[in-house]
């Protein structure tokens, strides 16, 4: 196959060539940045929370009456006892926040009392002796809290707490040698230390902002009851197969305990599956939008190639006829158009790659996204090459079937 005549012919229809090349370039630039964003979002969505999410649900509760801190603590204990009485409930715990919740309490973690800059940041889960079991998170070292250790705390009051359980990732971050158990850290804003009495398996933080990715698996469990004016979240594990029953019975049991309470969003109870869906809806939405846009984009680019190539074939019927009459085989004609498209596509891909890198660099400086890896460029480039060849095939085949007799006809 000779390239020279193809290049010569392209010079005769510069505009069409440039348009197709430009379209391929733009498509490549957008599709590979879209792939990159989609992949990033899906990686976020598939992160584990550490929680055993099946059969788990949440009731978010705020107090309507003016209970004192002590009365609130007593009421929470009574609520939990009532929930555990239900045949459909396996275990229950009261928390100020939980993984995937988005809002909650995070605090800087320091190793020394006089340290100014933080070592890291972590979720503070105000929890109790039932928390790990209810969430289905294993304790991998040390011991759990005892019921006696659980105290009451209003969220503005930064009391100190002598004992804490930390997540595996936080333990490793703070004590890379693996000797976290029994060590002291500073997890409050006052200068009293807390002793690590236990290490839990993976447990995600409540923070969902992408800025917080560095702290995503930092969690400190503190044996405290949130008795302030904010929400308290009852996390309830239903017995297998009894989720619906437990979700029906639990709010009634709580109302029977004390009706001066308000459940979040009227319905009160929400499955953990819904919590997960809500936590990642932005990421899902972005991914879905970009998948749709990329798919339609590729389709339109393919259609554009079909359209313009068909036009060229129609325009050159006589020349094709002449070539055929002079001895070119059908294969020659076919490969002529395929090669022509290949050349245009390669040009478009080169320009598109530069454009894609440019867009990515711009996003890096403006939105702090990561640098585009070469694999996305490669995947998108191959996809567009194949797309171009696939799109050009039908018109090229039609061209190859032009009969030599066309040479004798006037246009």
């Amino acid at each position: 196959m000779q390239i020279k005549p193809i290049l010569a012919a392209m010079r005769r229809h510069k505009a069409g060539t440039i348009l197709i090349g430009f379209q391929i370039a733009l498509t490549l630039a957008i599709v590979c940045n879209a792939l990159f964003i989609i992949h990033g979002r899906m990686a976020r969505v598939s992160r584990p929370s550490g929680v055993n999410e099946t059969n788990l649900f949440v009731i978010s509760n705020v107090w309507a009456g003016n209970l004192s801190d002590h009365e609130t603590a007593v009421q929470i204990q009574a609520d939990l006892d009532a929930l555990l009485q239900l045949g459909s409930v396996e275990d229950a715990t009261a928390l100020n926040s939980f993984p995937l919740h988005g809002s909650g309490w995070d605090n800087i973690i320091r190793m020394k009392p006089d340290q100014i800059h933080m070592t890291t940041d972590s979720s503070i889960y105000l929890s109790d002796d039932h928390t790990l079991n209810t969430l289905g998170v294993k304790l991998i070292a040390g011991r759990n809290f005892t019921a006696n250790e659980v105290q009451a705390l209003s969220i503005q009051t930064m009391a100190s707490w002598p004992v804490i359980i930390v997540s595996k990732d936080l333990a490793t971050l703070l004590f890379p040698k693996g000797d976290a158990l029994g060590k002291q850290i500073y997890a409050t804003n006052n200068n009293t230390p807390s002793t690590i009495i236990g290490i839990s398996d993976t447990l995600q933080s409540h923070m969902m902002d992408s800025d917080d990715n560095a702290f995503a698996y930092n969690a400190v469990l503190v044996p405290m009851r949130e008795v302030g004016s904010g929400y308290i979240h009852y996390l309830i594990r239903a017995r297998p197969g009894q989720l619906a029953a437990a979700m029906r019975e639990a709010p009634k049991a709580l109302i029977a305990q004390n009706r001066m309470r308000i459940f979040y969003a009227n319905d009160g109870e929400v499955t953990f599956a819904k919590v997960r869906a809500k936590a990642y809806e932005r990421d899902y939405g972005m991914a879905v939008l970009l998948v749709i846009v990329s798919a339609v984009l590729l389709a339109i680019t393919a259609a554009g190639i079909v359209g313009l190539t068909s036009f060229w074939v129609g325009q050159r019927r006589r020349q094709i006829g002449v070539r055929r009459a002079l001895g070119a085989t059908q294969g020659d004609i076919l490969s002529y158009f395929m090669t022509e498209n290949l050349l245009i596509a390669v040009g478009g891909i080169v320009v598109g790659t530069l454009l894609a890198i440019g867009i990515n660099l711009w996003m890096v400086t403006h939105y702090g996204v990561a640098y585009l890896s070469g694999s996305y460029l490669l995947v998108a480039a191959i996809a567009l090459l194949l797309l171009g060849q696939g799109a050009v095939f039908a018109p090229a085949l039609r061209a190859s079937r032009v009969s030599p007799i066309e040479a004798t006809r006037t246009a």
Binding site: A15, G16, L19, I20, F22, Q23, L26, T27, A29, I30, A34, I37, V62, W63, A64, G65, N66, I108, I116, H117, S154, I155, Q156, T157, M158, A159, Y186, N189, N190, N191, S229, G230, I255, R259, M260, I262, E281, R282, G285, M286, V288, L289, L290, V293, V296, L297, I300, T301, A303, G304, G307, L308, S310, F311, G314, Q315, M363, Y367, T410, A411
Partner: protein, 439 residues
């Protein structure tokens, strides 16, 4: 003549239905994607109070020292109680207000009903004038009520409907967090988006309007619970009660000043620096004054109120639209050049270049119009699916209105006509003699 050209255009479009369908669909998809993302973007990036966004300023004072600033050199985004109250009492701006988020329980009129939560603000009288809150019944409370720590409340018309069936409830009592307040005013529906005045608490796109407003001083007396953001990111501090917390350097009170002119703003900034310097002299601050005054637009930009998803999807859609247009240029070129001989005949029979332009641009406009109409349908259909793509809180703000529909059509037609300039120019360049000869 236009009608004739339009007719010619339509006839020509019918001649290659596949090519035409391709162009129309490309434009429709491109314009619909752009319009759907634009409809979301325009609400999230809109100016919520355009008539005075340059006169309302968020106030920041560094109360924790440069080593704790995050981001570096930036004061905390809200004030602590001590500074907020001091700035209120200084009264150096014509109007100023402070606020914090509350979510008190509301006891229903019928004791058999369960209590509900009403979200809103503990604030001061100037809040209503500064942010132009419209009233259905009654009026805001007065500065005297602020000073008297009065038990008065303003409720939204939504809460008024729920509690009093929409009747004029001014003068009646409402029980919030187990304390009684006298209602002095009922607002009309008021919910500027983004909720700039409370961006500190991340309430920019909170779905429901604020339901209840009470006097800040009274709320503090009664310790009405704060449901917003509290940031005690400064030096280590000890406190074991809410009372102690109140007087610590924790950021939780957004503070706003109304400063009608640039000169006022300059003057206020000088006052803030002087205030911080005084705190430094008094030994409370151990660092040079570091204060900020940001007006609504600057504050929203600083708080990055527009979600990055919304921006990225708008960029992607516009890129998508540009590709669709490039595609259309190519297809129009193919279509027009195929008719070179027809153009040659027309030119030979006396048609001027100008007439060729008119004819082909009309044809392109017809394509654009068809693409616009289809794009309109796709936009309307797509808006139903916006909830899948964006957070519901943001998605529900996006809506179809006349301006969006008109924009869709105008954008489709205009861009197609612009895209057709090059193919049309090529068509007008056709040499009649050459075309006739080759036949």
């Amino acid at each position: 003549m236009f009608a004739y050209y339009l007719q010619l255009g339509l006839r020509s479009l019918k001649r290659n239905p596949v090519l035409t369908a391709l162009m129309v669909m490309a434009i429709a998809f491109g314009v619909a994607a752009s319009m759907i993302t634009w409809s979301v973007f325009r609400v999230v990036s809109g100016n919520p109070i355009p008539w005075k966004s340059s006169q309302l300023y968020n106030v920041q004072v560094d109360d924790r020292g440069p080593q704790y600033d995050d981001p570096p050199n930036e004061p905390p985004e809200a004030l602590n109680y001590t500074d907020a109250v001091a700035l209120m009492q200084a009264h150096k701006a014509p109007h100023q207000t402070l606020l914090y988020d509350i979510g008190p329980s509301v006891l229903p009129q019928n004791p058999n009903d369960l209590p509900i939560t009403a979200y809103g603000y503990a604030t001061s009288a100037d809040f209503f004038t500064m942010f132009d809150v419209p009233f259905q019944y009654g009026s805001p409370w007065t500065n005297a009520d602020d000073d008297a720590h009065a038990s008065v409340a303003v409720i939204s018309n939504e809460l008024n409907k729920r509690l009093f069936g929409g009747a004029n409830s001014v003068g009646r009592d409402v029980t919030l967090a187990m304390h009684t307040y006298r209602i002095v005013g009922v607002t009309n529906h008021w919910d500027p988006k983004p909720r700039y005045y409370d961006a500190y608490d991340g309430m920019e796109f909170y779905p429901d309007p604020p339901q209840v407003f009470i006097v800040f001083n009274r709320a503090i007396d009664l310790r009405v619970g704060m449901t917003g953001r509290n940031n005690c990111g400064g030096p280590p501090m000890h406190f074991s009660s809410d009372e102690e917390w109140l007087h610590r350097e924790c950021a939780w009170i957004p503070f706003w000043a109304a400063l009608p002119t640039q000169a006022d703003a300059q003057q206020y900034k000088t006052f803030l620096v002087a205030y911080a310097a005084e705190q430094q002299r008094a030994g409370r601050f151990h660092w040079a004054p570091n204060v900020r005054l940001r007006n609504v637009t600057e504050w929203m930009a600083y708080k990055k109120v527009v979600p990055s998803e919304s921006r990225i999807s708008l960029f992607v859609s516009i890129g998508f639209f540009i590709i669709c247009l490039v595609n259309t240029i190519g297809l129009l070129l193919a279509k027009f050049m195929r008719r070179s001989s027809e153009i040659g005949v027309r030119r030979a029979l006396g048609a001027t270049r100008r007439e060729v332009y008119a004819q082909f641009l009309m044809e392109a406009a017809a394509v654009g119009l068809a693409g616009g109409v289809l794009g309109l349908l796709l936009t309307v259909a797509g808006m139903q699916g916006v909830g899948l793509l964006f957070e519901p809180d943001v998605a529900r703000l996006a809506h179809i209105d006349v301006s969006l529909l008109v924009t869709t059509l105008v954008v489709a037609v205009l861009t197609t006509v612009v895209a057709a300039f090059y193919p049309t120019w090529r068509a007008a360049q056709v040499q009649p003699a050459w075309q006739l000869k080759s036949n």
